[in-house]
């Protein structure tokens, strides 16, 4: 089963701390949503409010069109997968997975049948008689997933479920989570502080900071067209270049930066073209400093000198000094950048994003 979720003006105050500040969000049925942000950004509070473990100070939550704001966790069409898995240590896997069904009064034989099918889904049917302590971390994780899904929730809430796994296993579990979500069609709301994990699994990412939503969108749109400085910085490495608006034409605007005047297409301005004289920030991903073809419009920031370089496998990460500004550039792995050589700071015009200072969503 699956359902849409609607969060309206949710605010949660703990004493003097606003953990969640007037957050509104609509999640479509069957969507895989990732709440992404640093610790203390409010993502876990929002998840707890969806699960019913925390009541919002103000605002409402609706799931499948029904108001759930003051409904207890047991009576919600949600289940939570906890960070520490929270498996029942004294029960075998079959009974762990069947627990929710038992609470719903399902007969033993039917319950076991269903528990087996969900253990099958996560590839652990053969271990159904084992206890949780006999399993590895990744296996416990799968059992927790099967247990949460066995009661057919409309919405599954995942609280940093991959946090305790090592990197390789985490990547593998991300693929599995995504595949299982596609299969069962349940709405998944997943909390993490790892932007790579978010990009690997999400249909849409919700970037949060200081109790507010900074940005919402597909992984590509958030990475390529961030709508706030925080969002741009949190999703990956980025160069922030301060600038001032000079003049605007029909489809173009000119900005003055420390590296000279640059003409940018109007589409680079995510939140509209500001008036002349306003301060803005150019966001440039390091991998965009790569020789653009002649066929597309390019922007030049002059020339820079490579002051440092390190090989990262997929790219060379270089520091480039130009007119007192230090930029980071990722050059192709096949290049051989040497410290001291000059680099043409040319990039595709549409790869630059301009944000107004202090701009949020």
């Amino acid at each position: 089963m699956t359902a849409d979720v609607s969060i309206r003006n949710a605010t949660k105050v703990f004493g003097a701390f606003r953990a969640l500040d007037d957050v509104s969000l609509d999640i479509a049925a069957g969507e895989f949503i990732v709440l992404l942000g640093p610790s203390g950004c409010g993502k876990t509070t929002l998840l707890s409010i969806l699960g019913g473990f925390v009541e919002p100070t103000s605002g409402t939550i609706a799931i499948g069109g029904r108001d759930m704001t003051h409904v207890s966790p047991a009576k919600r069409p949600t289940t939570t997968m906890f960070q520490d898995y929270a498996l029942f240590p004294h029960m075998c896997l079959r009974d762990n997975v069947g627990f929710g069904l038992r609470m719903r009064g399902m007969a033993r034989a039917e319950r076991h049948e269903k528990a087996f099918s969900y253990l099958d889904l996560v590839g652990l049917r053969a271990s159904s008689a084992k206890k949780p302590h006999e399993l590895s971390g990744g296996q416990r994780q799968r059992v927790a997933l099967a247990r949460a899904l066995a009661v057919d929730p409309d919405v599954l809430l995942l609280d940093e479920p991959l946090g305790a796994l090592d990197l390789k296993l985490r990547r593998q579990m991300q693929d599995e989570l995504k595949a299982i979500q596609k299969r069962v069609g349940t709405t998944f709301v997943h909390v993490t502080h790892d932007q790579e994990e978010a990009m690997a699994i999400a249909d849409r990412i919700v970037v949060m900071n200081k109790g507010r939503i900074e940005d919402v969108g597909t992984p590509a749109s958030i990475y390529m067209r961030p709508r706030s400085l925080f969002s741009a910085g949190f999703m990956g490495e980025v160069n922030f270049l301060p600038a001032r608006m000079r003049g605007t034409a029909a489809n173009e605007a000119e900005v003055e930066t420390a590296l000279g005047r640059v003409a940018l297409p109007a589409s680079a301005f995510v939140s509209g073209v500001p008036a002349a004289g306003r301060d803005v920030t150019l966001c440039i991903r390091p991998e965009h400093f790569r020789g653009a073809g002649a066929s597309v419009p390019t922007v030049s920031l002059g020339r820079g000198r490579i002051t440092g370089s390190a090989f990262f496998g997929t790219h060379h990460r270089c520091h480039v000094a130009a007119d007192g500004t230090v930029l980071t550039a990722h050059l192709p792995q096949t290049d051989n950048p040497e410290v001291g050589t000059e680099l043409d700071l040319r990039l595709k015009a549409d790869s630059i994003v301009v944000l107004q200072d202090g701009a949020g969503v």
Partner: protein
């Protein structure tokens, strides 16, 4: 020099164990005395005192009473201790630390005081002295112990597990019965068996709060009033043996469980 210190340490340890176990060894040894006085010299070995004890209707009735009182009162003490521990561990209560120490405080009060106090209270309520009143007394003295053992084993890591159970639709009583209690089973069993062994050979409260039906320690005490007799050694050995049996069961139950859970 090192050998000497090792030898001295071994000697010291040996003396210490001798000091602790000599009375029990003497008691058990002279329960087999072939003669009417349970004192040296040992005249020979016989089982006739055990025969006499096991065919003594009053003693066997008292033994049965003791078992019933020990098991029932310990079960009640564990149940109450568990509920109290659950409340203190899972809810924020006003003056929680004070209330907790008040529950444990009776452990430091002598059983004589508790027995006398209960006797006056029972007189006021008009409740007749019986095995029930002895059981009540044993619940009073064992509850602090059960509470302390169970409370100590309730940690924060179980909170999320209980949350998960609630999230999956369990009601409060189902969470306690199906999740919390089974998770805490090792410590609940430890509390139960320790409580049983205390109740099993408790004398003062049992003596003050009983009348016609008495427990085994009280019956043994009335036997002693007619003088020393190898029968007292025999029944004493039986009491000791049963205590040891309870302790072994506890060790097996508790360590088998904790050894398995990670």
């Amino acid at each position: 020099m090192r050998h000497l210190t090792t030898a001295l340490a071994a000697l010291y340890a040996g003396l210490l164990y001798l000091f602790i176990f000599l009375p029990v060894v003497v008691l058990v040894l002279f329960s087999f005395q072939d003669g009417t006085l349970p004192v040296p010299p040992l005249n020979g070995l016989t089982l006739r005192w055990y025969e006499a004890v096991f065919s003594d209707g009053k003693l066997m009735a008292a033994l049965g009473n003791s078992l019933v009182v020990a098991v029932v009162s310990s079960a009640i003490a564990c149940l109450l201790g568990f509920l109290a521990a659950y409340a203190f561990a899972r809810y924020t209560l006003p003056a929680s630390a004070l209330l907790r120490s008040l529950i444990v405080a009776p452990m430091t009060v002598s059983t004589l005081i508790i027995g006398l106090g209960l006797l006056s209270v029972l007189n006021l309520t008009g409740l007749r002295l019986s095995l029930v009143t002895v059981g009540i007394g044993h619940v009073v003295i064992n509850l602090p112990l059960c509470f302390a053992i169970i409370y100590a084993s309730m940690g924060g890591h179980q909170v999320n597990i209980e949350r998960a159970a609630r999230d999956l639709g369990a009601r409060d009583w189902q969470v306690m019965l199906l999740v919390t209690a089974p998770m805490l089973l090792p410590s609940i069993l430890a509390a139960f068996f320790l409580s049983v062994t205390f109740s099993w050979d408790e004398f003062i409260v049992a003596f003050l709060l009983s009348r016609f039906d008495v427990t085994l320690p009280v019956e043994i005490w009335s036997m002693l009033r007619s003088g020393l007799d190898p029968r007292t050694n025999a029944i004493g050995s039986v009491v000791f043996l049963i205590s040891v049996a309870f302790l072994i069961v506890m060790e097996l139950a508790v360590f088998r469980k904790t050894g398995k859970s990670s």
